[in-house]
């Protein structure tokens, strides 16, 4: 049986073909093979959310999906969303509200927050907290992060 698999996926709009070891998870592949180091590796068992990426439009844990499972999928990372301008409003709000300190969690946090923004509805602070409950931040205490997301969702300043 094969321990490596020919795989092709579209990453941030570009078609990528590689032979990938089955044991390699998606975020390792993105970082090590494609040099997309914006998605971070924290816990590697699905707890911290630093590796959050989008696969076929849905946010997933990059460490809890094998790269070979992304065969035929559309993968979007923080680099793609940032370059396309999709995250512009969130990035501005995070900056203004001081919603990051060391920045390690920020890419995953922005991916999770954008998932909520795309739902296009007003949210309470409680709902925002629930939505980002799978993303750890060890610096900010979350208050400023919720402030920033709230500003984008509800247009408050």
């Amino acid at each position: 049986m094969e321990h490596a698999v020919d795989t092709s996926m579209t990453v941030n709009g570009s078609l990528v073909r590689r032979r990938i070891p089955a044991r390699q998870h998606l975020v390792d592949f993105l970082r090590e093979e494609l040099g997309l180091t914006g998605s971070h590796i924290g816990c590697e068992h699905g707890v911290c959310g630093a590796c959050t990426v989008r696969v076929n439009g849905d946010i997933v844990r990059g460490c809890l999906m094998l790269a070979v499972q992304a065969n035929g999928c559309k993968v979007d990372t923080i680099e793609g969303l940032s370059d396309s301008g999709e995250l512009k409003a969130l990035q501005k709000a995070f900056h203004e509200k001081n919603a990051l300190q060391c920045g390690f969690c920020t890419p995953g946090m922005l991916m999770a927050a954008q998932d909520l923004v795309l739902q296009n509805r007003r949210c309470s602070r409680e709902e925002i907290r629930k939505h980002i409950s799978g993303n750890y931040c060890r610096c900010t205490g979350y208050q400023a992060i919720v402030d920033a997301i709230e500003q984008v969702l509800n247009g408050q300043s």
Partner: protein, 264 residues
């Protein structure tokens, strides 16, 4: 950590999948939200992962004449959003938002959660409270097993080697309620309760209360909430965890029982 080395195959037919599962060290990969962390932590070391995500017909939610049949590959996110599930199996719809976080619910599956049989997980308790039937497919054909017979012990089920849990059927209930207490949203529950009522018959099933989901037989038979609270002491002897003693968990179980009783 990184996962150990293993082979990977993604069959496109059930026949092919069942054949692959006969190989030594073969393990099913569904949503992977429990399996991949256990690989990353090197708690398991399969020789072959059989990715069943390419199998046709396993991702369906079908309304039956009585209840709803949910394919094993239906994700928690789909269950959370499905109008059919909300209408015909509201217990599952109530439970799904408690499972981990949105990014995990987008990949984790009903079948994976039931087949893993984590006693602290939401769906096994829901299945037992609903008196669900599991459809298990193997090379010898199909077996239908009731939830009460399926969960045998800690992470131990009636699934035989080479079998796939293809779907689960949830009969309707007149009313259902799911409640759990966790330290932080999405964390493992300290204790949780899946309750159903069919006519005047109530069923209370606890998660995080033993090696399997636990049906509180005496509390379910009680006729008043006071009797039920009292009877729960005979039904449950929850194991202590890092933060909560057995007594604390029993106390919290009674709190949930009272909330559920008043809803049903």
């Amino acid at each position: 950590m990184k996962a150990p080395s293993f082979a990977y195959s993604k069959p496109s037919s059930l026949e092919e999948a069942l054949e692959l599962l006969e190989r030594p060290g073969a393990t099913i990969l569904a949503g992977g939200q429990s399996l991949i962390p256990s690989l990353n932590m090197r708690l398991s070391s399969p020789e072959l992962l059989v990715d069943i995500n390419g199998l046709p017909g396993f991702s369906k939610i079908e309304v039956l004449s009585s209840g709803v049949r949910i394919g094993c590959l239906v994700t928690h996110a789909q269950i959370e959003k499905s109008a059919e599930v909300s209408k015909h199996a509201s217990l599952l719809a109530q439970a799904a938002p408690h499972i981990a976080h949105p990014a995990i619910r987008n990949r984790g599956t009903l079948g994976g959660s039931l087949a893993l049989a984590d006693p602290a997980a939401e769906y096994p308790a829901c299945a037992l409270a609903s008196n669900a039937t599991f459809i298990l497919l193997g090379r010898k054909g199909e077996r239908r097993v009731k939830a009460a017979e399926f969960f045998k012990g800690l992470f131990e089920t009636d699934l035989r080697p080479g079998e796939i849990l293809a779907a689960a059927e949830f009969p309707p209930a007149d009313k259902a309620v799911f409640v759990e207490l966790a330290r932080r949203h999405g964390d493992y529950a300290i204790i949780g309760l899946a309750g159903t009522r069919v006519a005047s018959r109530k069923r209370f099933v606890f998660l995080g209360a033993g090696a399997t989901p636990v049906l509180a037989v005496n509390a379910s038979r009680a006729s008043t909430v006071g009797e039920a609270r009292q009877a729960l002491g005979e039904d449950l002897d929850p194991p202590a965890d890092l933060y909560h003693t057995s007594d604390t968990k029993l106390h919290l179980a009674r709190v949930l029982l009272e909330r559920a009783w008043n809803t049903l």
